[in-house]
Amino acid sequence: MNDYVKDNRADRLDRVAMQLATEIAPERDLWPGIEQAIAAPRRRMTWLAQAAAVVLLVGASSTVTWMVAKDDRPVAMASPDLVFERAAFGGDYNLGPGFQDARNSLRAELDAELGSLSPEVQADVQANLDVIHQAIVDINAELEKDPDNALLQQKLLASYRQELNLLRRVSGLSRNVMTRSDI
């Protein structure tokens, strides 16, 4: 086949493709399903999720700031490139095993090192973790009612990230404190 025939065919393909219908009416009205799905009060959800996020942020930041202020040595920051698995939510999906492993590992590390911190700090850390856990429970409860709500999914993922971040930072700090007392 020569180039002319090839080009001619490709042109014709493109020409016919551009004539294909781009607007096709669905065979049934899809609006009722959409209307039902969006009936959940969007703004109330946003407010709740944002409030939870603010509480988490303030709580975690306060603890870390207080602990940093206690220690006059520069704090070695943990590597920020912790890899999170992409998580999909809804009835059929859970967080990936990589995420669970990272969390379990950090939690075990924290538990092992928590003894080097004062009881007050331990209580503070636990209180912050409790707040995050409660937020996760609350968002999960809302997601059960509205499993496809993208905003809630994002907030849930953000909460898990907060939890991991807090575990990671506190573990790093406790290790730092312990090293200094050893010296």
Partner: protein, 200 residues
């Protein structure tokens, strides 16, 4: 589209318009109202755009049921994200991006692509109601049989007229990959259609 909006409500009666009265000014007003959680205004946007969104989903999936699911998912996602729409692109383009994401997300989740191709191949005589006729129908059927990536690129670039940059952005691939997939799609389509006397 000739559907008449049948919404009721004190200030919504002014929005009872037929499709031929839709214009950019109306669309902008509906967007603003929908951003303030006005579901009736969002329904107007749905009526305005559903055929084009469904058409895209149907061309990309080749399956009525999946296209319906993706269309609904796209509009639900659009509702959830509507407050973030700033008008940097046309609303229809923004909506199309969401629809493409819905299609890709569904295909990732279902992992049924291989089975789906087989089903399409087995039932290729069943014609999707796309309004195509003659050689366009043959081409549409051939597009349905393309591998997933080649099909998506061909639909976005070849049928809907998006540039390779735009198509690549929607699909999350490199522009060069989009061009390569388009080349592949053309080649595969030509092979399929040659047997049907398309070039004569």
């Amino acid at each position: 589209m000739g559907a008449l909006l049948t919404a009721t409500g004190s200030d919504y009666s002014q929005m009872m318009v037929t499709a031929d009265r839709y214009d950019i000014a109306n669309e902008a007003a509906w967007i603003r109202r929908a951003q303030r959680a006005d579901a009736r205004a969002f329904e107007a946007l749905y009526r305005l755009h559903v055929d084009r969104v469904y058409g895209l989903c149907l061309r990309m999936t080749g399956n009525v049921s999946e296209a319906e699911d993706c269309t609904q998912e796209a509009f639900i996602q659009a509702w959830n994200k509507l407050t973030k729409f700033r008008g940097d692109s046309a609303f229809s383009t923004w909506l199309h991006r969401i629809a493409v994401n819905a299609v890709l997300g569904m295909m990732r989740k279902s992992k049924r692509e291989h089975d789906r191709i087989q089903v399409v191949a087995d039932t290729q005589t069943v014609h999707l109601e796309t309004g195509d006729s003659g050689e366009m129908r043959d081409l549409a059927a051939a597009i349905d049989r393309l591998p997933e990536r080649a099909r998506h690129v061909f639909v976005l670039h070849g049928v809907y007229g998006y540039s390779h940059d735009e198509a690549a952005g929607m699909l999350g691939i490199a522009t060069g990959t989009s061009k390569a997939q388009m080349h592949r799609a053309r080649k595969l389509l030509a092979q399929q259609l040659e047997e049907q006397g398309f070039e004569r």
